[in-house]
C-alpha cells in the first residue's frame, strides 16, 4: 500500500508541472484571440440568422463570434454580469431594467419578425380576415364560436363552421408571445388592463403548446383551432395565415415586406427611442403584429480591440447583412431604421473616447 502511495505522488509531480505550465500559457492565448473573437448570448428567435451572419462575417474578416441561444432572459443576465460582449433580446429592456444595468446599454435592432395567426378551418378557402377586436375577443374568451356574427361581419361570403374556437398560445416564454401580447395591449384597453404584455402572460383561455412546433401541431390536429406562430415558421410549414386589419383600416397579409413597412411607419418614434414597439404601426401597408429583435451592447466598451470588432460587426450586419435576412424569412430593416442604428453606432465609446473616430 505504502509503495503505491509513493508512486502516485511521484506521478502527480509532472501533472502539477504541466498544469502550472498550462496556466502560465493561458493568458497569452486569451491575449492572442482577444481582438478577433467575440461572445454573445440571448434570443433564440433570430438565432438561425445570427449564426449565418457570424459564419459569413468570420469568412470575410476572420473575426470569430460565438453565440449561445439560451433565451432573451439569459442574454440579459449575461450582459448584466459582463460575461459576454453582447446580449440579444426579442424584447427591449424596460426603463426599470435599464437602470439595473451596471453601465449604459444601447439597443441595436437587427431585423424584424412578424407573428401570424394560423388556423385550422378546412371549409374556409380564402384567407380569414381578422380585426384587432376579433383577435382580442377570441383570446379573452368573449368570442367562442367560429360562426359568431362578429367574425362573419369581417368575412362576408365565407361559410364559417358552427365549430367552437380553440385558442392556442405558446406555453414557453418567448419573444413571439411578447410581440403578440404587445400588439393586443396596443389595440385593446381591456387586454392591457387584464393581461398585459410579456414573454409569458396569464392567459384567460386556451391551451399552450411548447414552441412554434407545439402550437402549430395543436392547430393542425384540432379543427377550429387558432394560434400564433412566427411568420418564418408559418411560411416554411405552409400554414394558412389570417389577414389582419391594421391601424389604417386595411386587411394586410403577413409578409416580410409588410413587416418592414411596419418598422418604416414607426421610424419617427424609433428615432426618439429605438425601443418603441412597432406593433400596430400607422403605415398603410404595415402588417400590425410584428416587432424587432435587438442586440444589447454597452455604450462604453472596456476592451478597445473587442469594441472595434463589435462595432465593425454591427455596422456590417445593419448594412450588408440585411440582404441575407429575407432568404431566412426575417424582415430586413427599412433605411430609416438603419439610419437610427448608424446614429447609435456613433455614440459607442471606448475608454470615454468615440469608437468610430479611431477607425
Amino acid at each position: 500500500m505504502k509503495t503505491t502511495k509513493n508512486t502516485s505522488r511521484m506521478r502527480a509531480i509532472p501533472i502539477a508541472l504541466g498544469l502550472a505550465l498550462l496556466s502560465a500559457l493561458a493568458p497569452l492565448a486569451v491575449a492572442n484571440t482577444g481582438t478577433t473573437s467575440l461572445t454573445g448570448a440571448g434570443a433564440t428567435f433570430p438565432y438561425p440568422l445570427y449564426s449565418k451572419w457570424f459564419d459569413v462575417y468570420h469568412e470575410k474578416t476572420g473575426i470569430e463570434i460565438n453565440y449561445q441561444s439560451i433565451g432573451s432572459g439569459g442574454g440579459i443576465q449575461q450582459i448584466k454580469a459582463g460575461t459576454v460582449d453582447f446580449g440579444a433580446s426579442d424584447a427591449p429592456l424596460s426603463d426599470a431594467r435599464l437602470k439595473e444595468m451596471p453601465r449604459r446599454i444601447i439597443h441595436f435592432p437587427t431585423v424584424g419578425g412578424a407573428v401570424v395567426l394560423a388556423y385550422n378551418l378546412p371549409s374556409v378557402r380564402q384567407p380569414l380576415r381578422l380585426t384587432p377586436d376579433l383577435i382580442a375577443g377570441i383570446y379573452m374568451g368573449k368570442i367562442t364560436s367560429w360562426n359568431d356574427k362578429r367574425i362573419a361581419a369581417s368575412n362576408p361570403g365565407v361559410a364559417l363552421p358552427a365549430a367552437p374556437i380553440l385558442p392556442v398560445h405558446r406555453s414557453d416564454g418567448s419573444g413571439t408571445t411578447n410581440i403578440f401580447t404587445t400588439y393586443l395591449s396596443a389595440v385593446d384597453a381591456s387586454w392591457k388592463e387584464m393581461v398585459g404584455a410579456n414573454t409569458s402572460v396569464s392567459w384567460p383561455v386556451g391551451i399552450g403548446g411548447k414552441g412554434n412546433e407545439g402550437v402549430s401541431g395543436l392547430i393542425r390536429q384540432t379543427q377550429g383551432a387558432i394560434g400564433y406562430v412566427e411568420l418564418a415558421y408559418a411560411k416554411q410549414n405552409k400554414l394558412p395565415a389570417a389577414h389582419v386589419r391594421n391601424k389604417s383600416g386595411k386587411f394586410i397579409e403577413p409578409t416580410l415586406a409588410s413587416t418592414t413597412a411596419a418598422a418604416e411607419g414607426a421610424a419617427p418614434m424609433l428615432a426618439k427611442d429605438v425601443r418603441f414597439p412597432i406593433a400596430n404601426s400607422p403605415a398603410p401597408a404595415a402588417y400590425p403584429i410584428c416587432g424587432l429583435t435587438f442586440l444589447l451592447v454597452y455604450q462604453d466598451q472596456k476592451d478597445p480591440g473587442k469594441a472595434h470588432a463589435l462595432a465593425g460587426f454591427i455596422e456590417w450586419a445593419i448594412h450588408d447583412g440585411q440582404s441575407v435576412a429575407p432568404s431566412l424569412d426575417y424582415a430586413p430593416l427599412p433605411d430609416a431604421v438603419v439610419k437610427v442604428n448608424e446614429g447609435s453606432l456613433r455614440r459607442l465609446t471606448t475608454g470615454g473616447k468615440p469608437l468610430l473616430a479611431n477607425r
Binding site: M1, K2, T44, I70, G71, S72, G73, G74, I76, A91, R97, P164, L166, S171, D172, G173, S174, G175, V195, G196, A197, N198, T199, S200, V201, S202, W203, G206, I207, G208, G209, K210, G214, G217, L218, Q221, T222
Partner: protein, 309 residues
C-alpha cells in the same frame, strides 16, 4: 503486513464513506442554492405562494397551487394506471411465464426505460392526443360526463394524456424491480403453500406478500420519476395555470412551468418565483418519499424483509 492491511481497510472505508457523504453534500447544496435563489420570492409572497392560484408574470403575482395540483394529479393518475399493470406484468413474468419468455419480455420492457423522454412526448402529442381527442375522450364525455372528472371539451392533450404518458414511462421501473423481487422470494414459500392445499393463484399471493416491501419500493422509485418528469409532460399537458377537477382539462406541473418559463424570465422576482417552485418540488418529493417509506415500514410491520429492495 498486518498494519498495511488495516490502513488499506481505513482508506477503503474513508473512500466509501466519502462517496456516501457526497450525496448529502449535493442535497445540501441543492437546498442552499434553491433557498438562496428563491429568497426574494419567499420574502414577497411568504406562505401565500403555496396557496396562490395566480401566475401573472406581467403583474408579478405568483402562486404555485395550480402547478402543485398538476404535479400531484398527473403523478397520481400515472400510478393509478401503472401500478396494477406493472405488478400484474411482473407477476406474470416471474411466476407464470416460461423462464425464457419472461427474460425476453422483461428485456423488452427495460428497453422502454432507455427511450428519451422527448420521444415519449412526441408520441403523446402526435399519436396519443389525436386518438384521445377523436375516440376516447368523446366516449368518456358521452358515458361518464355526469362525473366532474370527465367534463369539458375533448382536447386530446391535458391531464389524462400526461397521466397515460407518465404511466408508460414509469412502467419499466415497476415491472423490472417487482419481477426481480418476486424471483428472489424463496421457492419454498410457494411449495409450502401448495403443499398446504393452496391453489396456484393463492401461492402467488403468498409470494406477493413476501415481496411486498420490494414492490412498494419500486412504486416509490416510479413515483419519483413521475413527479420530476419534465419534457414529455410539458408537451402533452396543455400548459394552463387553471385548476380543474376534470382529467380532460389542460393543466401544468411544477417541472413544466420551470421548463417553459425559465429561459425567458427577465425580472428578478419572476426568476425567484420559478426557483421557489423548484424548492417546493424538492420539498414535495422529500415528503412523498418520506410518506412512502413510512408506508413500507407500516406494511411490513416494522421488520425488514430479506428481499426488501
Amino acid at each position: 503486513m498486518k498494519a498495511a492491511r488495516i490502513s488499506g481497510d481505513r482508506v477503503y472505508r474513508a473512500a466509501l464513506g466519502g462517496a456516501a457523504a457526497l450525496v448529502f453534500l449535493v442535497m445540501a447544496l441543492i437546498v442552499y442554492e434553491t433557498s438562496r435563489g428563491s429568497a426574494l420570492s419567499l420574502r414577497t409572497f411568504g406562505l401565500g405562494f403555496l396557496l396562490g392560484t395566480d401566475w401573472d408574470p406581467v403583474a408579478e403575482r405568483f402562486g404555485a397551487l395550480p402547478y402543485i395540483w398538476g404535479t400531484v394529479v398527473s403523478s397520481g393518475l400515472a400510478l393509478l394506471l401503472a401500478v396494477p399493470l406493472g405488478i400484474g406484468t411482473a407477476v406474470y413474468l416471474a411466476e407464470i411465464a416460461d423462464r425464457r419468455v419472461g427474460a425476453i419480455v422483461s428485456f423488452v420492457i427495460e428497453l422502454l426505460a432507455a427511450i428519451p423522454s422527448i420521444v415519449y412526448g412526441i408520441w403523446g402529442f402526435f399519436v396519443l392526443a389525436p386518438w384521445l381527442r377523436n375516440a376516447v375522450e368523446p366516449w368518456l364525455i358521452a358515458n361518464f360526463g355526469f362525473l366532474p372528472l370527465f367534463r369539458g371539451n375533448p382536447f386530446g392533450i391535458g391531464m389524462l394524456n400526461a397521466g397515460i404518458v407518465l404511466a408508460i414511462m414509469i412502467l419499466p421501473t415497476i415491472v423490472s424491480i417487482s419481477r426481480e423481487v418476486l424471483l428472489a422470494t424463496p421457492r419454498s414459500l410457494r411449495e409450502a403453500a401448495l403443499a398446504l392445499g393452496a391453489t396456484p393463484a393463492e401461492s402467488i399471493g403468498v409470494a406477493l406478500g413476501a415481496a411486498r416491501p420490494g414492490i412498494l419500493g419500486s412504486v416509490i422509485l416510479a413515483l419519483g420519476r413521475a413527479l420530476g418528469e419534465t419534457m414529455a409532460v410539458t408537451m402533452v399537458i396543455g400548459n394552463t395555470n387553471r385548476i380543474s377537477l376534470s382529467l380532460l382539462a389542460p393543466g401544468a406541473t411544477m417541472s413544466s412551468i420551470i421548463a417553459n418559463e425559465f429561459t425567458e424570465a427577465t425580472s428578478p422576482l419572476y426568476l425567484s418565483a420559478l426557483i421557489e417552485i423548484a424548492l417546493v418540488l424538492f420539498v414535495i418529493t422529500i415528503l412523498v418519499n418520506g410518506i412512502a417509506r413510512l408506508l413500507v415500514y407500516w406494511a411490513t410491520g416494522g421488520r425488514r424483509s430479506a428481499v426488501a429492495a
